[in-house]
């Protein structure tokens, strides 16, 4: 196992994060704060409680998930796409490192950054709403698993993308709608029955539900299903990346 390679990639990627600290951290915090102001304080003050939780507090887990998901994907996809774009990928391909080590370096760095941003947004939320976390350990488990699994997914997008437009395509066209329709701002029990059934096909529902449960003890789906969904998604991403490195798809001629 070439742990030095994992360490080198991780350090290099984290250095990029800290080099661009303003855009890395300030911008997601700012945009989430705006959500809190608009949905939590301005509009939220006119909305009744949702299942006994004030609306401002209710949307906190969803907002954190929204940012963490998009951050995980964009960090990891950019991390591996950039070497492809500028040609430095030759070094990764010629290194005595396995796919597991290369992936681990990029994914851990992307997940760390997303995790940091998730915690910062959580801290920001305390300024806007009264918030209590019923299951803090589970909250961290969900946050870590989400960061890791969506960083893996982002890594796949980064390998798949052949230009910057494609790099933005999946986060814009698929992920953002899935998060918005996945119960970030509402409980799916508030939907008509037919739409509730449709929502169950949205994998993000399971993530937000599990994460929200760790805050308020409220869940749209059983906790076990949330865990199965996130672990299944992680496994599928790992298998896909393994196949990519084995076949050299879009990285090795």
């Amino acid at each position: 196992m070439n742990l030095q390679a994992v360490r080198a990639i991780y350090k290099f990627e984290m250095a990029r994060t800290f080099r661009t600290i303003a855009q890395s951290i300030v911008s997601p915090v700012l945009s989430t704060s705006l959500y809190f102001i608009v949905f939590g304080t301005a509009i939220g003050s006119r909305i009744d409680q949702v299942e006994g939780v004030s609306y401002g507090a209710f949307i906190v887990p969803g907002l954190i998930m929204l940012t963490v998901l998009t951050q995980s994907i964009s960090n990891a996809s950019f991390g591996i796409y950039f070497p492809k774009f500028i040609g430095t990928i030759y070094e990764l391909l010629s290194a005595p490192a396995s796919f597991l080590e290369i992936t681990a370096g990029y994914v851990l760095a992307a997940a760390t950054k997303a995790f940091m941003i998730g915690l910062i947004i959580l801290a920001t939320a305390f300024f806007f709403v009264d918030l209590q976390i019923q299951h803090p350990v589970w909250m961290l488990v969900f946050l870590v698993l989400t960061c890791l699994s969506f960083s893996l997914f982002g890594f796949i997008i980064g390998i798949w993308a052949q230009n910057f437009e494609q790099l933005q395509l999946i986060p814009l066209l698929a992920v953002t709608p899935l998060v918005f329709l996945g119960g970030a701002f509402y409980s799916i029990t508030m939907l008509p029955e037919g739409w509730q059934a449709v929502s169950l096909f949205n994998p993000v529902v399971y993530l937000i539900s599990g994460f929200r449960w760790s805050f308020f003890g409220l869940a749209d789906v059983a906790l076990g299903w949330s865990l199965v969904a996130i672990l299944g998604f992680t496994g599928a991403c790992i298998l896909t990346i393994g196949w990519i490195f084995k076949t050299g798809w879009r990285i090795r001629a």
Partner: protein, 312 residues
């Protein structure tokens, strides 16, 4: 000398059916500089890429230091350093960090003393904290070399290290390569500058259309394949080549003051003595004679042309 790198019938056919490498076999000796010459698109970069793991070979085997590049890729790759043709560097990163990154990627523990030694050797130490984008083109090439050397490889591939580089920098680069050879690194250099191969290589390989046309020790190659010219300066100008020597391959200069005779150094008889006595008999007065070795460029062009003529 032992072969540190063995390439055995390496073939690469791309999806579209284009064969970039056609059963290439090649042994590279420990400690030598091998220059791989070939025109653009000959397969030089594909060969390097297939050895280093950037391109997946269609068939064939490569071993480095006795380790197969497919089954024992970790051992094999850790012995190789690669300096690519293009300047592929992260523009916003500091010089020292990008070199540290390469060392770690190749599985070596951090060693800032070693990194300092490499950067000093390449006259980059003063620039260690500069972002890559602030460097000149020549310095960026040196950074690529520093990255390739950061894990102390035994074999170094230099893919067209002086392409598009000015004359001064090119000579500077040659000096770097010589020093690397002295330190015991085996160097495989691809170039289409004949002058570069002539100046630096111990052996020369010629590749064209994915096939190795020959690999030979530089001196032997030039002696074996080189033609020589005998230039005869005449005391009095001639209007035409004298009839008694008209059957020989002689060329009279436009001003009639020089006769040029081409001969093969490997032939049993060069014909020089009989030519000179025939000229004397014809009453031609010789003022001076000089010989000139044909350059590697002429040999190279001749080989490539021959292959193209023979190709169906």
């Amino acid at each position: 000398m032992n072969a540190i790198l063995k390439v055995d019938r390496l073939t690469k056919t791309y999806e579209g059916g284009f064969t970039a490498l056609d059963a290439v076999s090649l042994d590279i000796m420990d400690g030598e500089i091998l220059a791989l010459l070939g025109p653009n698109g000959a397969g030089k970069t594909t060969l390097i890429s297939a050895i280093c793991g950037i391109v997946q070979p269609t068939s064939g085997k490569v071993s480095v230091g006795g380790h197969d590049t497919q089954t024992e890729y970790r051992e094999a790759r850790s012995l190789i350093g690669l300096v690519p043709q293009e300047i592929n560097l992260e523009p916003f990163e500091k010089v020292i960090n990008t070199v540290r990154f390469s060392r770690g990627l190749f599985g070596k523990a951090p060693d800032d003393k070693k990194i300092e030694e490499i950067l000093r050797d390449l006259s980059l130490w003063d620039k260690k904290d500069n972002a890559i984008r602030e460097l000149s083109g020549g310095m960026k090439r040196r950074v690529l070399i520093a990255k390739a050397l950061s894990h102390e490889p035994r074999v170094l591939f230099l893919d067209e290290p002086t392409a598009g580089v000015d004359v001064e920098l090119r000579r500077d680069m040659w000096e770097v390569v010589r020093r690397l050879k002295e330190s015991g690194v085996t160097i495989i250099l691809t170039t289409h500058y004949i002058e570069e191969a002539e100046a630096m290589a111990d052996r020369i390989g010629v590749i064209n259309k994915g096939e190795i046309l020959l690999v030979e020790e530089k001196g032997a190659l030039m002696a074996r394949m080189g033609q020589k010219e005998l230039r005869i300066e005449l005391a009095e100008p001639l209007d035409a080549v004298p009839e008694s020597v008209a059957d020989r391959e002689l060329e009279l200069s436009p001003n009639g003051k020089r006769l040029t005779f081409r001969y093969d150094t490997s032939a049993d008889r060069t014909g020089i003595v009989t030519l000179l006595s025939a000229l004397q008999s014809a009453g031609v007065k010789v003022a001076d004679v000089e010989t000139k070795q044909s350059s590697l460029e002429e040999i190279f062009v001749g080989l490539v042309k021959k292959q193209e003529e023979e190709a169906p």
